[in-house]
């Protein structure tokens, strides 16, 4: 378990079963695994999307997500967490992000998974650029993403 990286930024796709197996490792105390997988939609803000390009800030991205996982470990009784985020060009239906969390009981991993995703949307340095029929455009941050983080008592400076 300890040899599995908690944060992975990669261009290639990921396999949910393999990721969960790696996260669980030999931990026999795991009673719940909660996973969130984000995928590319073919429509956004009223336009069709043919390609989604993801840019990140190498170095800072990994550090920011590591800090988020540390915070999740403090807040929730979870055993392990792993975030895989893809970069580069992606097509509709492709997987973008995985947040996976293990705990003894389901409530803690459900909560931690949502917390990590809310945190990631507003605090991890990734940017999305869409190819639409009228050209390329950067995706705007959503005010609702900041509101989602505020539920956890954290003020976001993002949106």
């Amino acid at each position: 378990m300890d040899t599995v990286a908690r944060v992975v930024i990669q261009e290639q796709d990921f396999d949910l079963s393999a990721e969960v197996a790696a996260l669980r490792g030999r931990d026999t105390g795991v009673g719940a695994v909660c996973c969130f997988v984000g995928t590319v939609r073919d429509r956004n803000d009223g336009a069709s999307v043919s390609t989604l390009e993801l840019e990140h800030y190498p170095g800072m991205t990994e550090k920011a997500i590591e800090a988020m996982i540390d915070e999740a470990m403090r807040r929730f009784d979870i055993r392990a967490a792993r975030v895989v985020h893809r970069i580069g060009p992606l097509q509709p239906q492709e997987q973008i992000v995985l947040v996976a969390v293990t705990s003894a009981h389901r409530g803690e991993s459900f909560q931690a998974c949502e917390f990590l995703m809310d945190y990631l949307k507003t605090q991890a340095p990734f940017w999305k650029k869409e190819q639409t029929p009228t050209g390329a455009r950067w995706v705007d941050a959503r005010v609702s993403d900041d509101a989602a983080l505020a539920r956890w008592g954290i003020a976001s400076r993002n949106g």
């Binding site: 984000g38 993801l54 840019e55 990140h56 800030y57 170095g59 800072m60 550090k63 920011a64 985020h85 973008i96 992000v97 995703m117 990631l120 949307k121 507003t122 605090q123 991890a124 340095p125 990734f126 940017w127 999305k128 650029k129 950067w138 995706v139 705007d140 941050a141 400076r157 993002n158 949106g159």
Partner: protein
Amino acid sequence: MKITVRYFASIREAVGRGSEALDTAAATLGGLRDELIARGEPYAPALARGKAVRLALDQVMSDEAAALREGAEVAFFPPVTGG
């Protein structure tokens, strides 16, 4: 003092480069932003006051009041949209 400045996403495109080494007299990140705006094109429109510009100091989300130091890595970028 000598620092490194990095730009990402729409701000990188507007400035026309991903990073540069600078010798600045600014004491804070806000002061650095003003110094870059004062250069005019292409920095002024890219970093204009009123635009949603987020900052990082040494790879940690920060704000304009943060103090600069020798060798710092500063980043300017738009609000993040990952996930």
